[in-house]
Symmetry: C2
DNA sequence: ATATTCAACTTGTTCAAACAAGTTTGCGTG
DNA sequence: CACGCAAACTTGTTTGAACAAGTTGAATAT
Protein backbone atom coordinates (compact mmCIF):
# COMPACT_ATOMS: atom_id res chain seq x y z
CA UNK A 1 0.00 0.00 0.00
CA UNK A 2 1.17 3.54 -0.64
CA UNK A 3 3.35 4.86 2.13
CA UNK A 4 2.24 8.45 1.67
CA UNK A 5 -0.98 10.34 1.31
CA UNK A 6 -0.15 12.08 -1.95
CA UNK A 7 0.74 8.75 -3.52
CA UNK A 8 -2.60 7.18 -2.70
CA UNK A 9 -4.44 10.24 -4.00
CA UNK A 10 -2.33 10.07 -7.16
CA UNK A 11 -3.13 6.41 -7.67
CA UNK A 12 -6.81 6.90 -6.98
CA UNK A 13 -7.12 9.72 -9.49
CA UNK A 14 -5.03 7.84 -12.03
CA UNK A 15 -7.27 4.83 -11.80
CA UNK A 16 -10.41 6.94 -12.13
CA UNK A 17 -9.01 8.58 -15.24
CA UNK A 18 -8.04 5.25 -16.78
CA UNK A 19 -11.48 3.88 -16.04
CA UNK A 20 -13.09 6.79 -17.88
CA UNK A 21 -14.70 8.51 -14.91
CA UNK A 22 -13.84 11.85 -16.48
CA UNK A 23 -14.49 12.43 -20.19
CA UNK A 24 -11.59 13.29 -22.47
CA UNK A 25 -11.07 17.06 -22.35
CA UNK A 26 -13.37 17.39 -19.33
CA UNK A 27 -12.24 19.14 -16.16
CA UNK A 28 -11.44 17.19 -13.02
CA UNK A 29 -12.81 18.39 -9.67
CA UNK A 30 -11.04 21.57 -8.58
CA UNK A 31 -8.27 21.46 -6.02
CA UNK A 32 -10.67 22.74 -3.38
CA UNK A 33 -13.14 19.95 -4.08
CA UNK A 34 -10.35 17.36 -3.98
CA UNK A 35 -9.23 18.75 -0.61
CA UNK A 36 -12.72 18.09 0.72
CA UNK A 37 -12.93 14.63 -0.87
CA UNK A 38 -9.60 13.40 0.42
CA UNK A 39 -9.46 15.39 3.63
CA UNK A 40 -5.99 16.78 3.14
CA UNK A 41 -4.18 20.02 2.51
CA UNK A 42 -3.88 21.81 -0.80
CA UNK A 43 -0.18 21.01 -1.13
CA UNK A 44 -0.89 17.30 -0.91
CA UNK A 45 -3.53 17.47 -3.62
CA UNK A 46 -1.24 19.55 -5.81
CA UNK A 47 1.56 17.05 -5.41
CA UNK A 48 -0.66 14.23 -6.61
CA UNK A 49 -1.82 16.34 -9.55
CA UNK A 50 1.72 17.25 -10.57
CA UNK A 51 2.51 13.55 -10.90
CA UNK A 52 -0.46 13.16 -13.24
CA UNK A 53 0.83 16.12 -15.26
CA UNK A 54 4.22 14.43 -15.55
CA UNK A 55 2.48 11.27 -16.78
CA UNK A 56 0.67 13.24 -19.47
CA UNK A 57 -2.68 12.30 -17.98
CA UNK A 58 -3.89 15.83 -17.24
CA UNK A 59 -3.12 19.44 -17.98
CA UNK A 60 -3.50 22.25 -15.47
CA UNK A 61 -4.99 25.43 -16.90
CA UNK A 62 -4.52 28.50 -14.67
CA UNK A 63 -7.84 30.09 -13.87
CA UNK A 64 -9.76 27.23 -15.42
CA UNK A 65 -9.01 23.90 -13.83
CA UNK A 66 -7.40 20.55 -14.50
CA UNK A 67 -8.21 18.95 -17.82
CA UNK A 68 -8.18 15.24 -18.58
CA UNK A 69 -6.11 14.52 -21.71
CA UNK A 70 -5.64 10.82 -21.16
CA UNK A 71 -6.19 8.55 -24.11
CA UNK A 72 -5.84 4.80 -23.80
CA UNK A 73 -2.95 3.28 -25.74
CA UNK A 74 -3.96 0.48 -28.01
CA UNK A 75 -0.83 -1.67 -28.09
CA UNK A 76 1.85 -2.96 -25.78
CA UNK A 77 4.31 -0.23 -25.05
CA UNK A 78 7.17 0.66 -22.83
CA UNK A 79 6.70 3.83 -20.90
CA UNK A 80 9.54 6.23 -20.53
CA UNK A 81 9.82 8.30 -17.39
CA UNK A 82 9.43 5.31 -15.15
CA UNK A 83 11.59 2.26 -14.63
CA UNK A 84 10.01 -1.08 -15.23
CA UNK A 85 11.57 -4.48 -15.42
CA UNK A 86 10.70 -6.76 -18.30
CA UNK A 87 8.57 -8.81 -15.94
CA UNK A 88 6.60 -5.77 -14.82
CA UNK A 89 6.03 -4.64 -18.41
CA UNK A 90 4.76 -8.06 -19.36
CA UNK A 91 2.34 -8.06 -16.48
CA UNK A 92 1.05 -4.59 -17.26
CA UNK A 93 0.42 -5.53 -20.85
CA UNK A 94 -1.18 -8.81 -19.78
CA UNK A 95 1.15 -10.97 -21.84
CA UNK A 96 3.06 -14.04 -20.90
CA UNK A 97 6.74 -13.18 -20.73
CA UNK A 98 9.63 -15.56 -20.33
CA UNK A 99 13.36 -15.21 -20.22
CA UNK A 100 16.22 -17.35 -21.46
CA UNK A 101 19.74 -16.84 -20.16
CA UNK A 102 22.21 -17.06 -23.05
CA UNK A 103 25.34 -16.25 -21.09
CA UNK A 104 26.36 -15.65 -17.51
CA UNK A 105 29.91 -14.82 -16.51
CA UNK A 106 32.12 -12.77 -14.25
CA UNK A 107 34.63 -10.36 -15.69
CA UNK A 108 36.81 -7.40 -14.83
CA UNK A 109 36.28 -4.10 -16.61
CA UNK A 110 39.14 -3.39 -18.98
CA UNK A 111 39.69 0.01 -20.51
CA UNK A 112 37.32 -0.66 -23.40
CA UNK A 113 34.45 -1.82 -21.19
CA UNK A 114 35.07 0.99 -18.72
CA UNK A 115 34.85 3.61 -21.45
CA UNK A 116 31.62 2.18 -22.84
CA UNK A 117 29.79 1.44 -19.61
CA UNK A 118 30.97 4.14 -17.27
CA UNK A 119 32.22 1.66 -14.67
CA UNK A 120 35.71 2.36 -13.35
CA UNK A 121 38.51 0.35 -14.90
CA UNK A 122 39.23 -2.78 -12.91
CA UNK A 123 35.70 -3.04 -11.50
CA UNK A 124 34.48 -6.59 -10.91
CA UNK A 125 31.34 -7.22 -12.93
CA UNK A 126 28.73 -9.81 -13.75
CA UNK A 127 27.89 -10.03 -17.42
CA UNK A 128 24.49 -11.43 -18.33
CA UNK A 129 23.12 -11.98 -21.80
CA UNK A 130 19.43 -12.72 -21.91
CA UNK A 131 16.66 -13.23 -24.42
CA UNK A 132 13.18 -12.04 -23.52
CA UNK A 133 10.09 -13.62 -25.03
CA UNK A 134 6.56 -12.29 -25.12
CA UNK A 135 3.96 -14.85 -26.10
CA UNK A 136 6.68 -17.22 -27.32
CA UNK A 137 8.17 -14.56 -29.60
CA UNK A 138 11.74 -13.39 -28.98
CA UNK A 139 11.60 -9.60 -28.73
CA UNK A 140 14.58 -8.30 -26.81
CA UNK A 141 18.21 -9.21 -26.29
CA UNK A 142 19.65 -7.74 -23.11
CA UNK A 143 23.32 -7.28 -22.35
CA UNK A 144 23.60 -6.47 -18.64
CA UNK A 145 26.66 -5.52 -16.66
CA UNK A 146 26.16 -5.54 -12.89
CA UNK A 147 28.63 -4.23 -10.35
CA UNK A 148 29.56 -7.26 -8.30
CA UNK A 149 30.14 -5.34 -5.08
CA UNK A 150 26.62 -3.89 -5.25
CA UNK A 151 24.87 -7.05 -6.44
CA UNK A 152 26.54 -9.90 -4.55
CA UNK A 153 25.40 -13.44 -5.14
CA UNK A 154 23.87 -12.95 -8.56
CA UNK A 155 23.51 -16.24 -10.42
CA UNK A 156 22.31 -17.55 -13.75
CA UNK A 157 19.32 -18.96 -11.94
CA UNK A 158 18.28 -15.55 -10.60
CA UNK A 159 18.94 -13.94 -13.98
CA UNK A 160 16.46 -16.37 -15.51
CA UNK A 161 13.71 -15.14 -13.21
CA UNK A 162 13.85 -11.48 -12.23
CA UNK A 163 17.01 -9.65 -11.27
CA UNK A 164 15.05 -6.65 -10.05
CA UNK A 165 12.97 -8.79 -7.76
CA UNK A 166 16.21 -10.17 -6.30
CA UNK A 167 17.68 -6.69 -5.92
CA UNK A 168 14.67 -5.18 -4.22
CA UNK A 169 13.26 -8.03 -2.18
CA UNK A 170 16.35 -10.05 -1.27
CA UNK A 171 19.18 -7.51 -1.24
CA UNK A 172 16.78 -4.71 -0.23
CA UNK A 173 18.39 -2.35 -2.65
CA UNK A 174 16.47 0.76 -3.61
CA UNK A 175 16.62 1.63 -7.27
CA UNK A 176 16.43 5.34 -7.79
CA UNK A 177 16.96 6.50 -11.32
CA UNK A 178 18.11 5.39 -14.71
CA UNK A 179 19.67 7.44 -17.49
CA UNK A 180 18.63 6.10 -20.84
CA UNK A 181 19.52 6.67 -24.44
CA UNK A 182 17.61 5.44 -27.46
CA UNK A 183 19.44 4.88 -30.74
CA UNK A 184 19.03 2.84 -33.90
CA UNK A 185 21.77 0.38 -34.78
CA UNK A 186 22.63 -2.18 -37.41
CA UNK A 187 21.70 -5.75 -36.73
CA UNK A 188 24.49 -8.07 -35.63
CA UNK A 189 24.70 -11.78 -36.31
CA UNK A 190 23.68 -12.46 -32.74
CA UNK A 191 20.58 -10.31 -33.14
CA UNK A 192 19.70 -12.02 -36.38
CA UNK A 193 20.06 -15.45 -34.88
CA UNK A 194 18.18 -15.00 -31.62
CA UNK A 195 15.54 -12.46 -32.60
CA UNK A 196 14.74 -14.47 -35.72
CA UNK A 197 15.06 -11.46 -37.97
CA UNK A 198 15.68 -11.43 -41.68
CA UNK A 199 18.20 -8.85 -42.89
CA UNK A 200 16.22 -8.43 -46.09
CA UNK A 201 13.33 -7.32 -43.93
CA UNK A 202 14.81 -5.14 -41.20
CA UNK A 203 18.55 -4.52 -41.02
CA UNK A 204 18.38 -2.28 -37.91
CA UNK A 205 16.94 -2.44 -34.46
CA UNK A 206 16.15 -0.12 -31.57
CA UNK A 207 18.77 0.02 -28.84
CA UNK A 208 18.23 1.35 -25.34
CA UNK A 209 21.33 1.80 -23.24
CA UNK A 210 20.81 2.62 -19.60
CA UNK A 211 22.84 3.40 -16.53
CA UNK A 212 20.98 2.67 -13.33
CA UNK A 213 21.73 4.09 -9.88
CA UNK A 214 20.73 2.84 -6.45
CA UNK A 215 20.00 4.82 -3.30
CA UNK A 216 23.68 4.79 -2.33
CA UNK A 217 24.33 6.87 -5.44
CA UNK A 218 26.22 3.98 -7.00
CA UNK A 219 25.77 3.14 -10.66
CA UNK A 220 25.34 -0.59 -10.28
CA UNK A 221 24.01 -1.54 -13.71
CA UNK A 222 24.80 -0.82 -17.32
CA UNK A 223 22.46 -2.39 -19.84
CA UNK A 224 22.09 -2.48 -23.56
CA UNK A 225 18.64 -3.61 -24.70
CA UNK A 226 18.25 -4.53 -28.35
CA UNK A 227 14.63 -4.56 -29.46
CA UNK A 228 12.94 -6.10 -32.49
CA UNK A 229 11.96 -2.99 -34.45
CA UNK A 230 8.48 -4.20 -35.37
CA UNK A 231 7.52 -4.59 -31.72
CA UNK A 232 9.32 -1.59 -30.36
CA UNK A 233 7.37 1.35 -29.03
CA UNK A 234 8.49 3.93 -26.52
CA UNK A 235 6.25 6.51 -24.97
CA UNK A 236 7.01 9.79 -23.29
CA UNK A 237 5.33 12.95 -22.17
CA UNK A 238 7.31 16.15 -22.47
CA UNK A 239 6.55 19.32 -20.56
CA UNK A 240 7.60 22.65 -21.97
CA UNK A 241 9.42 24.70 -19.39
CA UNK A 242 9.12 28.41 -19.54
CA UNK A 243 12.21 29.77 -21.23
CA UNK A 244 14.38 32.47 -19.83
CA UNK B 1 14.52 36.25 -16.93
CA UNK B 2 12.88 33.64 -14.76
CA UNK B 3 9.49 34.67 -13.51
CA UNK B 4 9.76 32.72 -10.29
CA UNK B 5 12.28 32.26 -7.53
CA UNK B 6 12.50 28.47 -7.71
CA UNK B 7 13.21 28.68 -11.42
CA UNK B 8 16.17 30.98 -11.00
CA UNK B 9 17.57 28.80 -8.22
CA UNK B 10 17.09 25.77 -10.45
CA UNK B 11 18.92 27.45 -13.32
CA UNK B 12 21.71 28.68 -11.13
CA UNK B 13 22.35 25.24 -9.64
CA UNK B 14 22.05 23.60 -13.04
CA UNK B 15 24.67 25.90 -14.47
CA UNK B 16 27.01 25.33 -11.54
CA UNK B 17 26.69 21.58 -12.00
CA UNK B 18 27.34 21.81 -15.73
CA UNK B 19 30.38 23.96 -15.09
CA UNK B 20 31.79 21.35 -12.75
CA UNK B 21 31.52 23.30 -9.51
CA UNK B 22 30.62 20.08 -7.76
CA UNK B 23 32.60 16.90 -8.45
CA UNK B 24 30.84 13.86 -9.84
CA UNK B 25 29.40 11.89 -6.92
CA UNK B 26 30.02 14.78 -4.51
CA UNK B 27 27.28 16.19 -2.33
CA UNK B 28 25.73 19.56 -3.04
CA UNK B 29 25.23 22.04 -0.19
CA UNK B 30 22.43 20.86 2.09
CA UNK B 31 18.95 22.34 1.81
CA UNK B 32 19.59 24.43 4.88
CA UNK B 33 22.75 25.91 3.37
CA UNK B 34 20.92 26.63 0.13
CA UNK B 35 18.19 28.40 2.08
CA UNK B 36 20.83 30.70 3.52
CA UNK B 37 22.55 31.22 0.14
CA UNK B 38 19.42 32.07 -1.76
CA UNK B 39 17.43 33.66 1.04
CA UNK B 40 14.26 31.70 0.53
CA UNK B 41 12.15 29.05 2.19
CA UNK B 42 12.86 25.35 2.26
CA UNK B 43 9.99 24.52 -0.07
CA UNK B 44 11.40 26.80 -2.72
CA UNK B 45 14.80 25.17 -2.54
CA UNK B 46 13.23 21.73 -2.63
CA UNK B 47 11.23 22.65 -5.71
CA UNK B 48 14.39 23.67 -7.55
CA UNK B 49 16.11 20.46 -6.47
CA UNK B 50 13.22 18.27 -7.61
CA UNK B 51 13.61 19.71 -11.10
CA UNK B 52 17.28 18.73 -11.08
CA UNK B 53 16.28 15.24 -9.99
CA UNK B 54 13.87 15.02 -12.91
CA UNK B 55 16.68 16.08 -15.23
CA UNK B 56 18.90 13.31 -13.92
CA UNK B 57 21.44 15.84 -12.67
CA UNK B 58 21.28 14.93 -8.99
CA UNK B 59 20.03 12.28 -6.64
CA UNK B 60 18.59 12.96 -3.21
CA UNK B 61 19.70 10.54 -0.53
CA UNK B 62 17.58 10.67 2.65
CA UNK B 63 19.70 11.33 5.67
CA UNK B 64 22.75 12.04 3.57
CA UNK B 65 22.29 14.85 1.12
CA UNK B 66 22.00 15.62 -2.57
CA UNK B 67 24.51 13.93 -4.83
CA UNK B 68 25.73 15.20 -8.18
CA UNK B 69 25.44 12.48 -10.85
CA UNK B 70 25.71 14.74 -13.90
CA UNK B 71 28.01 13.61 -16.67
CA UNK B 72 28.49 15.71 -19.79
CA UNK B 73 27.17 14.18 -22.97
CA UNK B 74 29.69 14.00 -25.74
CA UNK B 75 27.55 14.22 -28.87
CA UNK B 76 24.58 16.14 -30.18
CA UNK B 77 21.43 14.73 -28.71
CA UNK B 78 17.78 15.40 -28.33
CA UNK B 79 16.59 15.44 -24.78
CA UNK B 80 13.34 13.79 -23.87
CA UNK B 81 11.28 15.25 -21.10
CA UNK B 82 11.44 18.73 -22.50
CA UNK B 83 10.06 20.20 -25.68
CA UNK B 84 12.54 21.81 -27.99
CA UNK B 85 12.10 23.03 -31.51
CA UNK B 86 14.63 22.02 -34.12
CA UNK B 87 16.02 25.54 -34.00
CA UNK B 88 16.51 25.37 -30.23
CA UNK B 89 18.23 21.99 -30.46
CA UNK B 90 20.58 23.27 -33.12
CA UNK B 91 21.51 26.22 -30.98
CA UNK B 92 22.06 24.11 -27.89
CA UNK B 93 24.36 21.81 -29.80
CA UNK B 94 26.15 24.75 -31.42
CA UNK B 95 25.48 23.61 -34.96
CA UNK B 96 24.18 25.52 -37.91
CA UNK B 97 20.70 24.32 -38.69
CA UNK B 98 18.61 25.17 -41.70
CA UNK B 99 15.21 24.16 -42.95
CA UNK B 100 13.76 23.55 -46.39
CA UNK B 101 10.02 23.46 -46.94
CA UNK B 102 9.12 20.60 -49.27
CA UNK B 103 5.38 20.99 -49.16
CA UNK B 104 2.83 23.36 -47.70
CA UNK B 105 -0.91 22.89 -48.15
CA UNK B 106 -4.28 23.14 -46.49
CA UNK B 107 -6.47 20.10 -46.13
CA UNK B 108 -9.47 18.77 -44.28
CA UNK B 109 -9.07 15.73 -42.04
CA UNK B 110 -10.78 12.71 -43.57
CA UNK B 111 -11.46 9.58 -41.60
CA UNK B 112 -8.03 8.14 -42.28
CA UNK B 113 -6.15 11.25 -41.17
CA UNK B 114 -8.41 11.68 -38.16
CA UNK B 115 -7.74 8.15 -36.98
CA UNK B 116 -3.99 8.54 -37.34
CA UNK B 117 -3.53 12.02 -35.93
CA UNK B 118 -6.24 12.27 -33.31
CA UNK B 119 -7.77 15.39 -34.87
CA UNK B 120 -11.57 15.25 -35.23
CA UNK B 121 -12.87 14.29 -38.66
CA UNK B 122 -13.54 17.38 -40.75
CA UNK B 123 -10.97 19.53 -38.94
CA UNK B 124 -9.27 22.15 -41.12
CA UNK B 125 -5.54 21.59 -41.10
CA UNK B 126 -2.27 22.88 -42.45
CA UNK B 127 0.06 20.20 -43.70
CA UNK B 128 3.76 21.01 -43.78
CA UNK B 129 6.54 18.78 -45.01
CA UNK B 130 10.01 19.98 -44.10
CA UNK B 131 13.58 18.87 -44.33
CA UNK B 132 15.97 19.85 -41.53
CA UNK B 133 19.68 20.17 -42.13
CA UNK B 134 22.45 20.27 -39.59
CA UNK B 135 25.79 21.43 -40.96
CA UNK B 136 24.51 20.99 -44.54
CA UNK B 137 23.52 17.40 -43.87
CA UNK B 138 19.82 16.42 -44.17
CA UNK B 139 18.92 14.70 -40.91
CA UNK B 140 15.19 14.88 -40.33
CA UNK B 141 12.03 14.88 -42.42
CA UNK B 142 9.08 16.37 -40.58
CA UNK B 143 5.43 15.87 -41.44
CA UNK B 144 3.43 18.43 -39.46
CA UNK B 145 -0.30 18.79 -39.19
CA UNK B 146 -1.45 22.03 -37.54
CA UNK B 147 -4.99 22.81 -36.49
CA UNK B 148 -5.92 25.84 -38.61
CA UNK B 149 -8.24 27.35 -36.01
CA UNK B 150 -5.44 27.34 -33.41
CA UNK B 151 -2.63 28.41 -35.74
CA UNK B 152 -4.18 31.02 -38.04
CA UNK B 153 -2.06 32.66 -40.70
CA UNK B 154 0.59 29.97 -40.98
CA UNK B 155 2.50 30.21 -44.25
CA UNK B 156 5.28 28.44 -46.12
CA UNK B 157 7.47 31.41 -45.32
CA UNK B 158 6.97 31.01 -41.57
CA UNK B 159 7.41 27.24 -41.83
CA UNK B 160 10.82 27.86 -43.40
CA UNK B 161 11.95 29.77 -40.33
CA UNK B 162 10.53 28.66 -37.00
CA UNK B 163 6.91 27.73 -36.45
CA UNK B 164 7.36 27.66 -32.69
CA UNK B 165 8.75 31.15 -32.68
CA UNK B 166 5.64 32.26 -34.61
CA UNK B 167 3.33 30.43 -32.24
CA UNK B 168 4.87 31.78 -29.07
CA UNK B 169 5.95 35.28 -30.03
CA UNK B 170 3.39 36.31 -32.64
CA UNK B 171 0.27 34.33 -31.74
CA UNK B 172 1.25 34.33 -28.04
CA UNK B 173 0.27 30.73 -27.72
CA UNK B 174 1.56 28.81 -24.71
CA UNK B 175 2.76 25.33 -25.48
CA UNK B 176 2.21 23.03 -22.55
CA UNK B 177 2.96 19.40 -23.19
CA UNK B 178 3.64 16.90 -25.90
CA UNK B 179 2.94 13.18 -25.95
CA UNK B 180 5.57 11.38 -27.91
CA UNK B 181 6.17 7.90 -29.21
CA UNK B 182 9.40 6.53 -30.59
CA UNK B 183 9.31 3.67 -33.09
CA UNK B 184 11.49 2.23 -35.82
CA UNK B 185 10.04 2.10 -39.33
CA UNK B 186 11.00 1.04 -42.80
CA UNK B 187 12.43 3.67 -45.09
CA UNK B 188 10.10 5.08 -47.70
CA UNK B 189 11.12 6.39 -51.11
CA UNK B 190 10.69 9.94 -49.83
CA UNK B 191 13.04 9.25 -46.93
CA UNK B 192 15.58 7.66 -49.23
CA UNK B 193 15.50 10.57 -51.61
CA UNK B 194 15.70 13.46 -49.20
CA UNK B 195 17.77 12.00 -46.39
CA UNK B 196 20.26 10.69 -48.95
CA UNK B 197 20.16 7.22 -47.50
CA UNK B 198 21.12 4.00 -49.17
CA UNK B 199 18.79 1.06 -48.57
CA UNK B 200 21.75 -1.32 -48.66
CA UNK B 201 23.11 0.60 -45.73
CA UNK B 202 20.15 1.37 -43.47
CA UNK B 203 16.66 0.28 -44.43
CA UNK B 204 14.98 1.72 -41.32
CA UNK B 205 14.84 5.00 -39.49
CA UNK B 206 13.76 6.38 -36.14
CA UNK B 207 10.29 7.90 -36.05
CA UNK B 208 8.98 10.21 -33.38
CA UNK B 209 5.28 10.94 -33.50
CA UNK B 210 4.02 13.64 -31.21
CA UNK B 211 0.77 15.27 -30.22
CA UNK B 212 1.23 18.73 -28.79
CA UNK B 213 -1.21 20.63 -26.61
CA UNK B 214 -1.48 24.35 -25.88
CA UNK B 215 -2.66 26.10 -22.76
CA UNK B 216 -6.27 25.99 -23.94
CA UNK B 217 -6.04 22.22 -23.71
CA UNK B 218 -6.32 21.96 -27.48
CA UNK B 219 -4.19 19.50 -29.38
CA UNK B 220 -3.03 21.82 -32.11
CA UNK B 221 -0.21 19.82 -33.66
CA UNK B 222 0.43 16.30 -34.81
CA UNK B 223 3.92 15.62 -36.08
CA UNK B 224 5.81 12.71 -37.46
CA UNK B 225 9.58 13.21 -37.37
CA UNK B 226 11.67 10.78 -39.38
CA UNK B 227 15.32 10.77 -38.31
CA UNK B 228 18.42 9.48 -40.05
CA UNK B 229 19.33 6.49 -37.86
CA UNK B 230 23.05 7.21 -37.75
CA UNK B 231 22.48 10.67 -36.27
CA UNK B 232 19.59 9.80 -34.01
CA UNK B 233 20.01 9.87 -30.27
CA UNK B 234 17.34 10.33 -27.63
CA UNK B 235 18.00 10.83 -23.98
CA UNK B 236 15.84 10.37 -20.96
CA UNK B 237 16.06 10.06 -17.21
CA UNK B 238 13.65 7.70 -15.54
CA UNK B 239 12.76 7.81 -11.88
CA UNK B 240 11.59 4.67 -10.14
CA UNK B 241 8.40 5.27 -8.21
CA UNK B 242 7.80 3.27 -5.10
CA UNK B 243 5.53 0.43 -5.97
CA UNK B 244 2.29 -0.36 -4.21
C1' DA C 1 39.78 -1.11 22.54
C1' DT C 2 35.05 -2.05 21.41
C1' DA C 3 30.25 -1.54 21.50
C1' DT C 4 26.22 1.25 22.43
C1' DT C 5 23.69 5.29 22.70
C1' DC C 6 22.47 9.76 21.71
C1' DA C 7 22.66 14.29 19.67
C1' DA C 8 23.03 16.72 15.47
C1' DC C 9 22.73 16.51 11.13
C1' DT C 10 20.36 15.08 6.54
C1' DT C 11 15.94 14.59 3.34
C1' DG C 12 10.61 13.31 3.20
C1' DT C 13 5.78 14.42 4.20
C1' DT C 14 2.01 17.25 5.60
C1' DC C 15 -0.30 21.10 7.23
C1' DA C 16 -1.95 26.17 7.14
C1' DA C 17 -1.89 30.62 5.30
C1' DA C 18 -1.35 34.44 2.21
C1' DC C 19 -1.03 36.73 -2.11
C1' DA C 20 -0.77 36.78 -7.32
C1' DA C 21 -2.90 36.15 -11.62
C1' DG C 22 -6.06 34.17 -15.02
C1' DT C 23 -11.12 32.89 -16.32
C1' DT C 24 -16.07 32.87 -15.49
C1' DT C 25 -20.38 34.59 -14.07
C1' DG C 26 -23.79 37.63 -13.21
C1' DC C 27 -25.29 41.90 -11.92
C1' DG C 28 -25.96 46.60 -12.85
C1' DT C 29 -25.61 50.58 -15.68
C1' DG C 30 -25.82 52.98 -19.88
C1' DC D 1 -29.86 44.88 -25.61
C1' DA D 2 -24.98 45.52 -24.97
C1' DC D 3 -21.26 46.69 -22.30
C1' DG D 4 -18.31 46.96 -18.26
C1' DC D 5 -17.17 45.83 -13.83
C1' DA D 6 -16.81 43.32 -9.74
C1' DA D 7 -17.26 39.12 -7.17
C1' DA D 8 -16.29 34.39 -7.04
C1' DC D 9 -14.15 31.08 -8.79
C1' DT D 10 -9.72 28.69 -10.76
C1' DT D 11 -4.37 27.41 -10.50
C1' DG D 12 0.64 29.32 -9.35
C1' DT D 13 4.16 30.84 -5.98
C1' DT D 14 6.11 31.46 -1.51
C1' DT D 15 6.55 31.37 3.32
C1' DG D 16 6.78 29.06 7.90
C1' DA D 17 6.16 25.32 10.79
C1' DA D 18 6.09 20.67 12.59
C1' DC D 19 7.07 15.87 12.71
C1' DA D 20 9.08 11.50 10.67
C1' DA D 21 12.91 8.81 9.34
C1' DG D 22 17.61 7.84 7.78
C1' DT D 23 22.82 8.80 8.55
C1' DT D 24 26.80 10.24 10.96
C1' DG D 25 29.98 10.97 14.45
C1' DA D 26 31.10 11.91 19.04
C1' DA D 27 30.58 10.82 23.75
C1' DT D 28 29.76 7.31 26.87
C1' DA D 29 29.62 2.78 28.94
C1' DT D 30 31.30 -1.89 28.84
Amino acid sequence: MPRSKYESIYKDLKQKIEEGEYAYQALLPSEHQLILSYGCSRNTVRRALSNLVADGYVQTLPGKGVRNIYQAVEQASYTLGSIESFQESSLRNRRRGSTRVLQFMELTADQKIAARTGFPEGAELYYVQRLHYLDQKPLIINHNYFLKSAVPGLSADIAGKSVYDYLENTLHMTIVNSKRTVTVEKITQIDEKYLELNVDDYNCLAVITSQTYNSDGVMFEYTQSRHRPDYFRFQDNAIRRKSS
